[in-house]
Amino acid sequence: MKDKKNLTTEINPEIRDILVEMGAEDIYKCYQCGKCTSACPWFQVEIYDYPVYKFSLETALGAVASSEDKKELEKEIDLIYRCVGCEACLDQCPHGISTPNILRAARRLLVDFGSYPEILKSTVQKIHNVGNPFGEHRENRADWAKGLNVPDYQQGMEYLYFPCCLPAYETRNQKIAQATVGILQKCKVSFGILGVKETCCGEVIRRIGAENIFEEVTKSNIKEFENSGVKKVLVTSPHCFTTFKNEYPDFGADFEVQHTTQYFSHLIDTGKLKIDKSFYKKVVYHDPCTLGRKNKIYEEPRNILKNILGLEFLEVENFNRNLSVCCGAGSGGLWLEWEKEERIVNVRLKQLMDTGADIIAVTCPYCLQMFEETLKSMDADIKVMDISEIIFECL
């Protein structure tokens, strides 16, 4: 047994009990096998050691984020906010332990006491204040749709198309929303948008740990959907998908949600979406964690790409589907800055580029943003496209 003097924090069952109450109940299942650590994307960042296996035990001892030393505590909180919520650990865990949920319990307490990174505080504040994490004006939310004849959602329309924040405001991401409505119009789908009445789905706020504001945003969105008579929502972002599908019902939501790849795959299979033009490119598909591992949507994006004439479909060998590696943007990661050599995105981009692809196909605005931003500083001859953009180019 190790010298007890090495224990720098006191054991505190009360903290354990509170964290369990806040969602960390999985801690009791852990038997410290360590599979989570090797599955974690941080494991692949060679210079960085991320002790996933410790979080359950530390929480069970009530010894998480508990150092009384200022610098040591900063390091502990940094660890809590490094988790990108990709659930690779959960996927590999023999006991089905969700470390992201364990860490989110700690985040919730820290957020209530203003003890989390300033940049994430600002993100939460902006979503609460203007409905998007960038602090952009609400009245500009539908600017992406200008000149595209996209109607406002009205009762009786089949789908509400909900692009959410990145595709609504960020110039590169707007092209996804524009391609999506182009496809929907071509297929004569009955749809509309909420336009300036749309507000962020709030998924990232919940992952950051700002539960109270998440609840406020969620209830307000549900009310807006109900008032507008929305029954089916089509989303571009897997993050909207997962929170609408798996979390909004807890707050009384009663609507169906589909990811665009599910819907487009269905339209192709039923002959309603005809992809006429060829696309002679080598395309590697990157499974976003939230669409793949979390919601098991693996086949639809592949079905779409395999239905495009000329497209040579590539996989990242050993790291596809449930073994896909996160882009690093989840659970607030999009806003956090790490040292250049410590970024998960570099690991994933290398895997994707090593396939020799011309194009990385993505189905998540976060992944697109992370890859695009990182590629700007790399001398790489590879493009990133959302699957909607590829389809739209081939119509």
Binding site: S67, L110, K121
Partner: protein
């Protein structure tokens, strides 16, 4: 060393869209997030650093509505020992002078060596409470403090003035310092400290608990309005050579060259 830190719960408006409410005298707050005033967080951290050096007791004090308890509890979790809320609901829109008078009435009942306040509140930006409070308490003060080097009797402080000038002062304690942001790195609260803070009592002082002198109101808010736009920003788009050509055209047109 016994330290009092005066803090304020304020809406976070730096990056927010702010609009005026129906009274025309305040802002709409329902979509704003509230937190401890920024420079107050630095004042609190400076107090904790002094306590680590000299031991003693930190009391945080705030004139605020019941939700101010959340902010006081954060201060307790970050190192304060006691917290007092003076019930704002007992006073009708106090101005800066009146606020300082109310704070003084409570502070004169507490032992202290140093009072620390933030140098400015981000909501009303008055910057008056700290220095007015020092005058009312008849103790020396220094505003805009960027460095504190104290012993038990005196403190040496640096004040940041215009254009990077630093003024060095040697002040006898007890004294009041208004603290600038950037003087230190405010700390996080640990989960243990958060739990400890959750159990602490926050003393609630109503008008009936305070021995008040005649309150003087020097200023009343008559109206808030958004200033009319006097200058416009034009963002040039296009390739670097296109934007450069457009810019050159504008500069020429305005007769600037």
């Amino acid at each position: 060393m016994d330290i009092i830190v005066c803090i304020k719960r304020v809406p976070q408006t730096a990056e927010a869209e702010v609009s005026i409410d129906s009274t025309g005298k305040s802002i709409q707050k329902d979509r704003l997030t509230f937190d401890m005033n920024e420079s107050d967080t630095y004042a609190l951290e400076e107090a904790v650093l002094l306590k680590e050096k000299f031991e003693g007791n930190i009391t945080v004090l705030s004139l605020g509505y019941p939700d101010t308890d959340d902010t006081l509890r954060i201060a307790l979790a970050k190192g304060a020992d006691n917290a007092i809320r003076i019930k704002a609901e007992n006073f009708e829109n106090p101005d800066a002078f009146q606020t300082a008078q109310i704070l003084k009435s409570v502070i004169k009942t507490i032992n202290f060596d140093i009072i620390l306040t933030g140098c400015i509140a981000t909501d009303d930006a008055y910057s008056q409470i700290g220095v007015t409070l020092a005058e009312l308490l008849e103790i020396p003060h220094a505003a805009l403090v960027i460095k504190v080097d104290a012993n038990e009797q005196r403190t040496h402080v640096h004040r940041e003035l215009e254009e990077g000038l630093i003024e060095h002062l040697d002040i006898k304690l007890p004294a009041l310092l208004t603290i600038l942001t950037g003087i230190n790195e405010p700390r996080y609260a640990s989960l243990i400290a958060i739990r400890r803070a959750a159990k602490k009592e926050i003393q609630q002082l109503g008008k009936e608990n305070i021995e008040l002198e005649d309150l003087v109101i020097n200023s009343v808010i008559e109206e808030l309005y958004v200033p009319p736009v006097t200058k416009q920003v034009e963002i040039l788009t296009g390739s670097p050579s296109e934007t450069a050509t457009k810019l050159a055209g504008i500069v020429k047109e305005k007769g600037l060259i």
